[in-house]
Amino acid sequence: MATLELDLAEEAVSAPPRKGRRLGWLFWAAIGWMVFVFALAIFATVLPIADPAAMDMLERRAPFSAAHWLGTDGLGRDELSRLIYGARVSLVVGLCAPVIGLTIGGALGMLSGYFGGRFGSFVVGTMDVLLAFPPLILVLAVIAYVGQSIFNLTLILGVLGIPAFMRVARAATLTLSRREFVIAAQALGASHARILLRELLPNVILPLFAFFLLGVAITIVVEGSLSFLGLGVPPPVASWGSMIGEGRESLDIAPRLAFMPAIAMFLTVLSFNLVGDTLRALTDPRQGAL
């Protein structure tokens, strides 16, 4: 009573600042960067840039110039075009792997959350076992056995993401299943499939998408780390990670070779994190934002 009075006043007072600042300039800058990188990657082949594999042994580690805007790397290849083609690889893995997690994990999560019971516990238990492994170790173990390739890498990273997506989808489904619109649909005799697809899915997809963006950020980082060590995308294919790895050798004479792809990766990961985090704050069904 008396405490309630004080609490309400406190809540009323602390509510205003957050809501106003939701989609600030940082958010739009992040979106801008993402669009920029995407555009460069998609249109790489039609852009007026050099062939990323063309080596010019006379111009190794050349500084910035009109011929090579961002200089050349240790084998005389044009940095700018390598960066752009590297973006392609990093983005392909970075996007496709979480898609696997999103679809399979999301489906498993919704089903286990909606039906519950033994099926639900079984799914959760299986995912828990997968989560019992430190992720990087598992990736390395599998890559060791199946061999390095972009396809294998994407596949294993995707599978590793399934438990996380499952948890998000399950939590969202559990929260939403208790709301009136689901109970109403059940009372009207709607089939399970209809409820899942028409009522739950549109609402679950939003927090899932926010988590997907965060997953892209994580995947780019993991792929980058593996490629940096030479255990990710197989050479001669270059991603930002392997470029940084190569650049490490020239740290004393040309640090830019490591730092340019590093900055590109950092900005991209940061953008995905920013947008994903903002969307998550907006769409979490537990906070009743929608």
């Binding site: 009573m1 008396a2 405490t3 309630l4 009075e5 004080l6 006043a9 406190e10 009323a12 007072v13 602390s14 509510a15 205003p16």
Partner: protein, 331 residues
């Protein structure tokens, strides 16, 4: 009441900015408490009585704006510097909150929470503080006090926890104790015990007390003076016997009528006050109680009544047509 009052609340107002506009939680309240006296502050939930106590203690939320003065023992708490205020709190000025489950720290032992106050203000060594803590727990009626020192709040019953909170409040012999709804969160059977404990300790230590409650029955016989609050203002103030015998505010009358009486016939319908307190973000032009008052006339809706005196200066009320008849004293 002779001499300078121990606490003098002067024109205190609390404003809270909210998304829906400014919330005036406390609207220019004036009160005094003399040394050794008990003041009862009564009102419905939402009337601002808790905000008032927080304002006196300087424990308002960060965004709140406080105006006015609260002179305690010659010093204005509102403008006092932080270090001096900290030394006063716990030592001369103590408080008991409503819910001991949330006001005691759940991960610290009872002993720690008692001893730290003693160490901070009285500078005693560990052995002396332990001894003193055991004495305090015994004084508030807790059996096996030595064992309790090592226990955690969740291991005690609600009534016991509140006794501990009272022991903590009394530990440094405060001059003024503010008890904010000390029994509301407790079982009915325990309530009287706790109130008696407070009254007993108060007399023994010659301590002043402010007893905040929503229940007029609680203040009868336990207070020297009563202030009735409504919508952030004091609407009637009088020495306790005068309030019950000759109340003037229709709100006070309605509050009194809502107390269940022992000698009423069984299944008597309790007259509840119809309507709800006003929205504090939209203050009314006239008297805040007028929408619910059965005596209200046009003037009440248009003009805000100020506090005026009744027969004696000690009895004040804010109403345009107060009740003249004396009322029955509750059982």
């Amino acid at each position: 009441m002779t001499g300078r009052p121990l606490l003098s609340v002067e024109d205190v107002a609390v404003d809270l900015p909210t998304p829906r506009g400014n919330l005036r939680a406390v609207d220019r309240v004036n009160l005094t408490v003399g040394a050794g006296q008990t003041l009862g502050v009564v009102g419905e939930s939402g009337c601002g009585k808790t905000m008032l106590s927080r304002a006196i203690l300087q424990l308002l939320p960060k965004k709140a704006k406080l105006t006015g003065r609260a002179i305690f023992d010659g010093q204005d708490l509102v403008s006092l510097d932080r270090e001096k205020l900290r030394k006063l709190r716990g030592r001369s000025l103590a408080v008991v909150f409503q819910d001991p489950m949330t006001s005691l720290n759940p991960v610290l032992t009872i002993g720690t929470q008692l001893i730290e106050t003693l160490q901070e203000h009285l500078g005693l060594d560990l052995a002396a503080t332990r001894k003193r803590s055991v004495e305090l727990l015994a004084a508030v009626g807790i059996p096996a006090p030595e064992q309790r020192l090592m226990q955690y709040p969740h291991q005690l019953s609600g009534g016991m926890r509140q006794r501990v909170a009272i022991a903590i409040a009394l530990s440094c012999e405060p001059k003024l104790l503010i008890a904010d709804e000390p029994t509301t969160a407790l079982d009915v059977t325990i309530q009287a015990q706790i109130l008696d404990l407070l009254a007993r300790e108060q007399r023994r230590r010659h301590m002043a007390m402010i007893l905040i409650t929503h229940d007029l029955g609680v203040v009868a016989g336990r207070t020297d003076e009563v202030a009735v609050m409504y919508a952030g203002r004091v609407v009637e103030r009088a020495p306790t016997p005068a309030l019950f015998k000759k109340m003037r505010m229709p709100y006070t009358e309605a509050l009194l009528a809502a107390i269940p009486k022992l000698d009423a016939a069984p299944h008597t319908v309790l007259p509840a006050i119809s309507g709800r307190p006003p929205d504090p973000t939209r203050p009314l032009k006239g008297c805040s109680f007028s929408p619910r008052c059965r005596y209200a006339v046009a003037r009440c809706h248009g003009e805000k009544p100020e506090l005026t005196e009744a027969e004696t200066p000690a009895h004040q009320f804010a109403c345009f047509h107060p009740i003249e008849m004396p009322a029955a004293v509750p059982a």
